[in-house]
Assembly symmetry: C2
Homo-oligomer: 366 residues x 2
C-alpha cells in the first residue's frame, strides 16, 4: 500500500495517455478531476493486488463513450458516484475498492477521483493493459467474468442497470444507451472479487504508467527526448518517424473512427505511414508492410517532448514518433485475438506479434 | 372483484383491438398467451380500482416496441416475469396487483398472462383509455407519476433497470435499448400505489373492452354488423366507409409508421380518406377536411363483421368502416394535447374534439 499524491497523478496521466494508444479518453480531464479530488480529500490509497482479500468486492469505474464527446461534456463526478452507489445497493454488499477497467488516459484517472470522494482505495490493476473501445475487451472477459450487473449514469441524472446474458450484449445495449444519453456516461462495471483480480487482472499497470510518466518528465528536465527510456519500460520498438499530413476523423456509432497519414522523416524519407483508429490506434502500416496490429499497442509520441498524442490531438504538421509495444500475453491467445484482434475491427490483416513484424522489417531492409 | 375466464378474454381481446386504434400490439398473440395461462392456472381475479388499498404497490406490465416485430418474435412469458421480479426486488416491496398500462390489443391482455403465472390479481384500469406509442403518453404522467424505476427484458434474458430524471428520458433510453434488444421487449413500468390509480387511472377500461367484444360477438351470432352498438358504447361517430387502396408502411426508429388510403363507398363515393399512423392511427382526413385527430380515437372496422383491423392488418381491397371516438377528458387538457396531440407527432393540424369536427361536417354537407 502506498499513497498517491499530485505528482504521482501527473506522472500516471502521461503514462496513461501512452498506454491509452491514442484513446481511452482525454487524460487532461481525468487528471484535473483526480487532482481536484486530492486537493479536497487528500492523497489516495493505492493497493497492490495481493493486498485485496479473495472475497472482497471490487468494482471498476470509468467512462464509456466517444472521447471527442467527453471533451465537450466533462463529467461532474456526481454521475460516477451515482453509478457506483446504484450498483453497490443492487449487489447488497459493501465495495472494498475501485480500479481502472482500462489503462487509457481518462479511465486510468477517473477511479482516483471517485475513490477520493468515497474514501475508498484504488487497486493497481486493470483489465486491458492498454485502452480498448468495447466493454468485453478485457482480460476478465477472457476468463469468464461477467460485465454485468453494470450501471451507466449520465450527467443529467439518468441511470441504467443492465444484466445481460453475456458481455457482447452488455456492450451492445450499454453502447446504444450511451449514445442516447448524450454520447458519454460514467459506469460501474465488472463487479468482481479479489480472486478474479489476482487471476485475470493485469497487475502493476498504474505503477508502469507512473514510471513512463516520470521518465518523460525527467527527460524533459534534462532537455532530451525520452523515447529510449519509454521503449525500455514497455519492451517497445520504434516503428516510424514522420509528420502528420492527413487526418480523417468522424464520430459515428458512439466511436471516434478514422485514419491518420504520416509522411516519413529522417530514415523514413519518402515513405508514408497509415494509422487506423477506432478511439484507439489499431493498425500501423506503410504501403509495403504492416508494422503493428491490435491487440499490440501503437502509440504516437511528440518527436520533441516524447509526450503521447491522442487521436484527437493529431494535427496537420505535427512531428511524431510512432512506437509499437507488445500487449499482455493474455491477449495473444486465440480468444484474445478473436476478441480484439484486427479481424474483430473489420480489417483484413492477420495478427502477428510486433516483435516479429519488426524483426522481419529489419531483415527486409537489411 | 370477479373472475376472468376464457370467454371474457375472448371478448376483451376484441374490444382491446378496437381501443388499440390499430396499434397496441397484436391482440391475437396476447389472447393466446392469456388463454394458455388460464388453461394452466385457472381464472384470474379482476379487481375494481376501489378495491385496491391506497398504499398497495401496483406495477403495470406490458410490451414495448413495434408490433410488426412482435408478430415474428412472440414473448415466452418468462421475460415478463423477469422484468416484474427484477422491479419488485429493486423496490423491496411486494407487488399487490398488475394492470395494463394501455388499452391496446396486446397490452390489455399480457397482464392477465403474467398475473395468472404469478397468482396476482389484475386491476380494471389503464393509463391511456386507448393505445399510444410512447411511454410518457399516460394519464399518470399528466399527474406527475414517474415511469421509472422501470425494467425492460428481452426474450434472450437481458434486462435493463432504468431510473431517469423524467418520463421523456425514460422513453428515449428505453426505446433505443428496445431496438438494440431486438425490437420488442417486456416491461414492468410506472410502479405506483392505489392512490395514484384512483386519481390518475382510467377506470373500468377492461369492462368497456369486454362490452365491446361481447357486442361484436352477439351481433355476429345474429348475422349483423354491430357498428351501431360500438358507437353507442364508445360515444363514437362513423367517419367514413370505403376500401383500402394503398398502404405505405415501414418500421423505423422502433415504430410501425405509415399512411393508408381508402376510397369511398356508398355515401363517400369518389372521396378518399387518408389515415396516418405511428403504431396507432393518429389522423383521419379527406382532401377537404380533418375528421378525427389524436388523442381522440380512430378505429378501422371490417365493414361486414365489425371486427377491428390493426395497422398491420390493413390490406388492399379490404372494405372498412372508420370510426372516431372521444378520448378520456384527461387528454383534452393543455398538457394532454401537448403530450399526445397532433403537434407532438409532427402533424401541422390543430386538435379539435371529434364531436365538433363531425358536427361541422354535417353542417358543411347539409
Amino acid at each position: 500500500m502506498r499513497y498517491i499524491g499530485k505528482q504521482e497523478i501527473e506522472d500516471i496521466a502521461v503514462g496513461a495517455a501512452l498506454l491509452g494508444t491514442g484513446g481511452g479518453g482525454d487524460p487532461y480531464i481525468g487528471k484535473l478531476m483526480a487532482l481536484q479530488a486530492i486537493e479536497e480529500f487528500g492523497p489516495i490509497k493505492l493497493l497492490d493486488v495481493d493486498e485485496v482479500p479473495d472475497d472482497a468486492l471490487v468494482v471498476p469505474s470509468g467512462m464509456m463513450g466517444a472521447p471527442t464527446v467527453m471533451i465537450e461534456k466533462a463529467p461532474s463526478g456526481e454521475e460516477a458516484i451515482g453509478a457506483f452507489k446504484s450498483l453497490e445497493e443492487y449487489l447488497g454488499k459493501e465495495v472494498y475498492a475501485t480500479m481502472p477497467i482500462e489503462a487509457g488516459g481518462l479511465n486510468s484517472l477517473l477511479p482516483f477521483a471517485l475513490a477520493a470522494r468515497l474514501g475508498l482505495p484504488v487497486v493497481d490493476v486493470d483489465g486491458m493493459g492498454r485502452a480498448f473501445p468495447e466493454l468485453q475487451m478485457v482480460t476478465f472477459y477472457l476468463d469468464g467474468v461477467s460485465a454485468t450487473p453494470l450501471v451507466i449514469a449520465d450527467e443529467k441524472g439518468n441511470t441504467s442497470l443492465l444484466k445481460t446474458i453475456n458481455n457482447v450484449w452488455a456492450e451492445r445495449i450499454a453502447r446504444t444507451s450511451t449514445i442516447e444519453m448524450g454520447g458519454s456516461v460514467m459506469m460501474a462495471i465488472y463487479p468482481m472479487n479479489g480472486r478474479n483480480l489476482k487471476e485475470s487482472g493485469i497487475h502493476h499497470i498504474l505503477a508502469l504508467e507512473e514510471q513512463i510518466g516520470k521518465a518523460i518528465r525527467l527527460a524533459k528536465q534534462e532537455g532530451k527526448a525520452p523515447i529510449k527510456e519509454i521503449l525500455q519500460l514497455t519492451n517497445g520498438h520504434e516503428l516510424f518517424k514522420g509528420k502528420v499530413i492527413d487526418v480523417n476523423r468522424k464520430t459515428e456509432t458512439g466511436f471516434a473512427r478514422g485514419t491518420a497519414t504520416l509522411e516519413g522523416l529522417d530514415s523514413n524519407l519518402g515513405q508514408e505511414l497509415e494509422l487506423k483508429f477506432q478511439n484507439e490506434h489499431l493498425i500501423a502500416k506503410t504501403k509495403e508492410r504492416v508494422l503493428c496490429v491490435t491487440p499490440d499497442l501503437i502509440a504516437v509520441l511528440d518527436a520533441e517532448t516524447g509526450l503521447p498524442v491522442t487521436t484527437e490531438g493529431l494535427r496537420y504538421g505535427a512531428r511524431c514518433v510512432v512506437i509499437g509495444m507488445p500487449c499482455d500475453p493474455k491477449w495473444r491467445t486465440e480468444k484474445g485475438i478473436k476478441t480484439c484482434g484486427p479481424g474483430y475491427f473489420g480489417y483484413d490483416v492477420d495478427y502477428r506479434p510486433v516483435e516479429e513484424l519488426v524483426l522481419e522489417g529489419v531483415k527486409t531492409i537489411g
